[in-house]
Structures are given as C-alpha cells and as structure tokens.
Subunit: 155 residues, 2 copies
Amino acid sequence: MSVAPVKFQARKTIEQVEEGNDLAPKFDDRGLITVVTTDADSGEVLMQGYMNAEALQLTIATGEAHYWSRSRQVLWHKGATSGLVQRVIEIRIDDDQDAVWLRVAVAAGTHCEPASCHVGYHSCFYRTVELKTGKIIYAEKEKTFDPEVVYGNAL
Amino acid sequence: MSVAPVKFQARKTIEQVEEGNDLAPKFDDRGLITVVTTDADSGEVLMQGYMNAEALQLTIATGEAHYWSRSRQVLWHKGATSGLVQRVIEIRIDDDQDAVWLRVAVAAGTHCEPASCHVGYHSCFYRTVELKTGKIIYAEKEKTFDPEVVYGNAL
C-alpha cells in the first residue's frame, strides 16, 4: 500500500513533548515504542505489543493496527494471516510520548469469531493473578478459536 | 510493610507458561516487566509503566499498585506522595507472561480529584493522534489538578 508517511517531530524539551502539539514519539534503543491495545467497546485490554516508526506511521495512515514482531523481527500487519484485523477507532499517546494506546474494533476471522490472542482466546490477558496468593485463575473459560485451524503452520 | 513474598515459578516450556497454572513472569534484561493500568470502572488506560520482581510481589501482596520508576531508579508506591493510590481490583497476565494488566480504582488525592498523570490529567493518555494526519488533539480539555500544588518539589 502506498501512503504518504506521517512525519514525526524532533524531541526538544519536556514542555514541547508533554504539553505541546507536536507528535514526537520516543523510540527506545531497539527503535521500538510500547503499545497497549484495547477493545473500543468493552475497554478490555486485548494485547500489549511494540511498534517501530514504520508500524506507527502505517497505523496512522491506514487505520489498521501494525506492530513490530520482536519474535519474528518483521513488520506485522495484525490479521494478515488470520483475518483478525484490528480497525483503529482512536490512537492516544502518553505524556512523554513513549507509549501508544490503540482503541480498536476487531474483525471476525476467516475461521472464527473476533479474537486477538494467538493462543485462541479473545484477549491475551485471559488469566487473573489472584490478590494475596498469586494463584493463576482462568478469566476466560473457553478458547474463542482453535489456533491450528486459523493459523495452520503460519504461527 | 512486612508481607510474605509471592513465589514465582521457573519458566520451563511454552505450554507451561501459556496454558498452565504457574505464575512465571518474564522480566527483561533490565529485570522489568511492562504494565498497563486501566480504570476498573471506565476501562480507560491510565498509564503504562514497569515493575521489577519486588514491585509485582508487593502489588499482589498488598493490593496497591507498586511500580519501578525507570527515571528515578527506585521502587515506587504509586500515590505515596500525592495520595493518588491505585487500589487493585484485578491483576491479569498475558499469554507469554511478559506483560501485566492492572485494573484499579484510583483514590482522590490529598489535594485533588482522582487522577493518575503527573502532568495533572486524569489519564497519562490525554492526547489523541488523529488518523491519517497524525495531528495531536487534546482528548482531555482541562487538567484535573495542578502538579505544583500536589507534588510541590517532589516531582
């Protein structure tokens, strides 16, 4: 897809970054910025990931979530394999511009209901850590899809 | 505060970490795990931060959010200065256990309404990045508190 890349501004002062109108994201020493993605309707956190500059530019330009896959070291258009595309409703950026919040609507997949986690659950955060004990409890009782059917060998 | 630390398990296999019942968090090469904190009522993302093992253990044990401050390099009991304590309603952990989601109720501060951002806004994510253009738009029109009144020289 050919889109004009959004230009990022140079970071100059705390005031400019925190209280100004410049988009001046801070990428870490790996060239990445952290991203939290929530379901725009429910507020549920679906996943936590990373973007490089190109992924952030493509997300802004196309309105579909793009990430940087640290495990595969590639630009990752979420849903390209599974059909589970994340349509961006809103992008927020935090005070020091080193974190992005995406509010998304998740499409149904080619073979399943809307979901975001490669393990098969709706959210990647399908488990609760019990207060005081640290015991793991499954917040999602059943998987939304079978990863083998949706991803085959593409995982 | 004296509390028995919650024990973390060793990470052995993908199946154990993703589909088991062991709490086996993955701390990165700085000893940190990424944390996203949302308002338990509204679903709004309040902040993105980090915990070391001690901060995660204290959060589980006490039910109040503790972080690791990367800028100050100290354990950080959120609200210790401002009164804006985050009471944890639920802790979730993601598939590969390298990210934590806290659902919290924010207390009113000593000098202000409930808020979470040191700049004075309710959420650290007080600005929207407009789709297609990348233009910054203020989602929160007014600050919830005056940082100088709440923090004085403690920032």
